[in-house]
């Protein structure tokens, strides 16, 4: 459990000497509690306090980087079991699996898909992350050749899947400096695997059935000098995965079993419904997900889910700005402007639906603030409204230029009219009155 500011304050020297950069020990304690400062900034801490504070601020799950260059990414360094307690920080990498028994063309085509396909949602580019190459042939030559093919097509993070160290060794000749993730060290082969990983400074997946076995293996690999580990509990069903993954996360963040403090690996191709495994991996703590190349539909849904789960749930609930339809509005339907605070949006939408007057809702981006606060804070202003009108092409949707604004935004009406050239009608303050308003004001 995270320490409260006051608990931390009690451990501080209470000198208020400002050397940490904060005006008082109390404000420093507040920052520490919020994870916004480093314990070391206070030079006057005694050893015991340092030990207590250090332990509680060090991430319980190790940060592991995969790949190098533009598409490289990091996983791990998570702090919570439920995202509502803070947030999840490092989204899982999704890797399309290819095999060294496939043709070069096939391998290369999949690689190019991952390289090129992207999908833009709310301003960010959503992409799958890399290629997982399986040594199905069992030969090191074919494996090495396939790696070469992948490398030729793109600089993507890789997972190299083989139980044979000599195959991996051969593959690493081609990509050893690019930090591929090696899969997998087991109880039997971990010494050689560790040697390989260490030599190329690559992250390594460890694989075992059972958490105690995994923890044991992690400890042994760490002794061999490899700490960038990822854990594969090789689940036999979705049920096994969720149980194991939850247990690992819980035991790691509570530091009950610190040896489980590594990101989790999931091979979704093992499941008979791959989509289910991916969805589950995303919500339940997987950090590397290997899947057969996904259809467009599955990829979009999976990436959207991943984006959703890895947004900060504590930010005010926002709607995406845009032009929303209520019913099937025609060219003469009213356009109502509102803010992107979701409660405002949903309330208004609810009332609008019950009026049964088809209309448009123009949702502008007030960063999730309500009408009242966004007007007060100056976030809601005429430029924002103008930009939204243009950006969402409202003029093409309706044959009039009348905009209904919320009652609380009344002070802006003049300026909006000036800037947009639209006629502004001031609606009611309370969404509950919108029906009546539309009946009386719009209809006439």
């Amino acid at each position: 459990m995270a320490l409260k500011a006051l608990d931390i304050y009690k451990l501080l020297p209470k000198k208020n000497c400002k050397e940490c950069g904060d005006p008082t020990c109390l404000t420093f304690a507040m920052k520490l509690a919020g994870g916004k400062a480093d314990v070391d900034l206070c030079p006057h801490l005694d050893e015991q306090a340092k030990a207590v504070l250090g332990a509680s601020t060090r991430p319980p799950i190790r940060l592991v980087k995969i790949g190098i260059g533009e598409r490289s990414f990091a996983i791990g360094e998570e702090f919570v079991l439920y995202r509502h307690e803070k947030t999840f920080y490092h989204p899982p990498g999704i890797f399309f699996k290819v095999s060294d028994t496939q043709t070069m063309e096939e391998v290369s085509a999949v690689t190019k898909r991952v390289r090129d396909e992207s999908f833009i949602r709310v301003g960010s580019d959503l992409r799958c992350n890399g290629i997982a190459l399986e040594n199905s042939s069992g030969t090191k030559e074919m494996f090495a050749a396939a790696v070469a093919t992948v490398e030729k097509a793109a600089d993507l993070p890789l997972v190299l899947i083989s139980e044979k160290t000599e195959s991996l060794f051969a593959a690493l000749v081609h990509c050893g400096t690019y930090r591929p993730l090696l899969h997998a060290a087991t109880k039997e082969n971990f010494k050689e695997m560790c040697a390989l990983a260490k030599h190329h400074d690559c992250p390594l997946v460890i694989k075992a059935r059972g958490l105690e076995q995994l923890a044991q293996l992690a400890k042994e690999c760490a002794l061999e000098g490899v700490q960038d580990l990822v854990m594969d509990s090789s689940p036999q069903s979705l049920g096994e995965f969720i149980t194991a993954s939850t247990a690992i996360r819980q035991l790691a963040i509570t530091r009950a079993m610190p040896d489980l403090g590594y990101p989790v690996f999931l091979d979704a191709t093992g499941s008979d419904i791959q989509d289910a495994a991916i969805a589950l991996g995303i919500v339940k703590y997987a950090s590397v997900i290997v899947t057969a190349p996904l259809s467009e539909a599955s990829a979009k849904a999976a990436l959207t889910l991943r984006q959703n789960i890895y947004t900060d749930p504590q930010k005010p609930i926002q709607m995406n700005p845009g032009l929303y339809r209520v019913g099937t509005p025609g060219k003469d339907a009213p356009v109502l402007m509102t803010v992107n605070f979701s409660l405002t949006f949903f309330t208004l939408q609810g009332y609008l639906e019950s009026t049964r007057i088809p209309c448009f809702m123009l949702v502008v981006d007030t960063e999730g603030l309500s009408v009242l606060t966004s007007v007060a804070a100056g976030k809601l202003n005429e430029t924002l409204v103008r930009d939204a009108l243009i950006r969402f092409g409202v003029e093409n949707e309706v044959a009039h230029k009348k905009l209904i604004i919320p009652g609380y935004a009344a002070p802006l009406s003049g300026r909006i009219e000036e800037m947009t050239g639209w006629k502004v009608l001031v609606g009611p303050r309370d969404a509950a009155e919108i029906g009546e308003y539309l009946e009386q004001e719009w209809k006439k």
Partner: protein, 317 residues
Amino acid sequence: MGSDIRFGWTGAIGSVILGATRSEGGTRKISYRVGGGTTLPFLDHAPASSPLVALEICDEPQYWPQIVRNYCGDLVDDVSAWATTAETVYGADLIRLYLTSTRQRNFSDIPLVGKAVEEVLSATGLPLIIEGSNEPGIDSEVFQKCGEAGEGERLLLGTAEAGRYRSIAAAALAYNHSIIAQSPIDINLAKQLNILLREIGIQQDHIMIDPYTGTLGYGFEYSYSAMERIRFSALKGDADLAMPMICSAIDSLTIKEVREADTAYQDEMAVAWEFYAGLAAAVAGAEIICVRHPKTVGRLKKAFTSLKTGSDPTGRI
């Protein structure tokens, strides 16, 4: 070293019974006890039951997503046939009937509502969820009518909201049905509504929470955590949140990504959207997942089966 997950829960999710068989005083082929979980979803060693999948249908298809109308064809014009198919072909566990006819302007043909409910009851043996009107002016009559038409069948009636719960509660109380309590993506609002319902006499085992599910990309990020928090608080012992949850990401089939998908994979896109949202919602704690695309039903059911076969995480399989 113990490596079991110990959360130290002190509470459990209550259960709600839906549907009544002949021996229970109704005419359903099956009845369900929904809820009853004692830990996070799918971690029960002896799971109470896996989530149920409900197919949503309606009695006035002009208000229904085009994709479903295309996929189902004429079926949507015959609510009884639609209900029968939902059970026999699509494999739904439950049917959720939206009385969309009540959304027509100045709707007043209350007996029609009763007729629709009766028709669907006789067309299927599955327990029913009935969505009544959206209009405070006719709420009371509509809910009374639904309640009466389904008397003895232990329906699940929807939807009570903080500003509109008295008429639906009255109907539920009068005919012993359960109700859906919906609040906009917020644990506190969900709890408040449950308290309000409790205070006018609705038993806890007659309430299902609908925390409102924004679909993927459209509010799901909040819905997911709202559900997780509700489940978490319930397990921590908050009785006012210890009701099973129902989830319906109804916008899934009308959002841009699906609406504008190439017609060749529009169905696939719709199903993927419903499926990912539905599965994630179940993992967050929803016990009934409602979908509109018939093809999503089977996929979700299959996934839930695979999820049920959990094992001891310690390796002592």
